[in-house]
Amino acid sequence: VKALVWHGKQDVRYDSVPDPEIEDARDAIIKVTSCAICGSDLHLFHNMVPGMKPGDIMGHEMMGEVVDVGEAARGKLAVGDRIVVPFTIICGDCDQCKRGNFSVCERTNRNKDIGDKVFGHTTAGLFGYTHLTGGYPGGQAEFLRVPFADTTHVKIPDGISDEQALFLGDIFPTGWQAAIACDIEPTDTVVVWGCGPVGQMAIRSAILLGAERVVAIDRYPERLSMAAAAGAVTIDYTAQNVHETLNDLTDGKGPEKCIDAVGMEAHSPFTVEQAYDRVKTAMMMENDRPHVLREMIYTCRPGGILSVAGVYGGLVDKIPFGQLMNKGLTLRTGQTHVNRWTDDLLHRIEEGEIDPSFVITHTASLADGPELYRTFENKQDSCIKVVLKP
């Protein structure tokens, strides 16, 4: 079958790979009907996250039709079912899964020993996201093996299109959890750093959860226009001072709730800060460029909440932890617990409350994938979200 395969930094190829097969009784095989390139795929594309090997299949946002089901999964899945596959592989049986903490499932990382060493305690297995999280082949492919398929799926009714459902597997619940983590109150100003796909979902989630005002920060006009379409106040950080503008909007007090939808590859408008992080990451003295974390801590109202949905890879430098502590800020973070939210979110899609397909700007064949990685990377052609059709 064909798949998008990682060969090294900025080197993704449309290759032939072996057909996936049932390896365990809980497995299923799906024919992928739609998959997407995620912003966090770009971290792998840039080789910012350790643990990729040449030959790894990319992709963790995918859905499709079940074409084969292992014996133990047959009660829950049948050939012909349409499912979205969450990017987190979940067993459903461990203590964390029972608590709904699916992204830290204790059993699905088949490289648990590596996960334990790197993270202290392992997180869940992930599709197409390094050997630290199991080295599972990803879904930017014609077919995909879904391990623990009896629990790792979201069934999609026929009335919902692929484009409406696909983002239930990652970016919609990621933005939703980021907003939920803010404990939004009706008087809150919620600020979202980054208007990429996760940021767009976080903006709409904060609105649906009743924030008085949502402020969106980015530098690309097309992204800001999409944020404004939902009703957000926008800030172009290359033209406006973020801290001063947020103070102006909040009577000098700062926003109550801040969401980081950028993560490890942030750009700073301050040349010295940008150069500092660029040099340190290039010299392998720091993993991430944490400009947004620094700015959120500085800007947030004392007693406020910082919600980090953006992906970080490892060590960060010059985090003003004294400000965080003395201002009494609450920091919440984590990969989203997809299946904790999908029943509610699917219901909201069915009810017409939200149509996540608004974010799709580019649709193409899987063979176009390598080129669209570059388009997405360089924010060319006003690209915000790429959907691929294998």
């Binding site: 449309y14 006009p221 660029r278 149509d355 915000i384």
Partner: protein, 146 residues
Amino acid sequence: MEPAMHADTPRKGSLTAADRAARALGWFSLALGAVELFAPGRLGRAVGLEGRETLLRGYGVREIGAGVAALSDTPAPAIWARAMGDLVDMATLAPAARRSQGAVYALVAVAAITLIDIAVASALTRQTARSAPPRDYSDRSGLRAA
């Protein structure tokens, strides 16, 4: 809302010839920088710059910095910086070329590499440029109208 269809001819991989050239230039920078930094005496004698070891060490630091940056995911600025550095190198070598055959050879080599640097930097700049005007997505709310 109608998603845009990307109609360009697909290519098999994402890595371009300019990317590969930038990486080769990056490794070349690191190697040259190491020689300039750690063997400035021998290099100086070979290219007619005897007694200018401190200057060559400085150039070595510059080359290593450019090499590291050229191996990053945004190599274009580093390759342009290399091209600027080439001009500095030529200005340094030109006076020595009147008395040293080694300096003449070095000058010709640097001139050739300058052309390569400019060609690669131009290609990288073109391939990462946001040439089209930004689209207006202000009709993409995604939320049910109130």
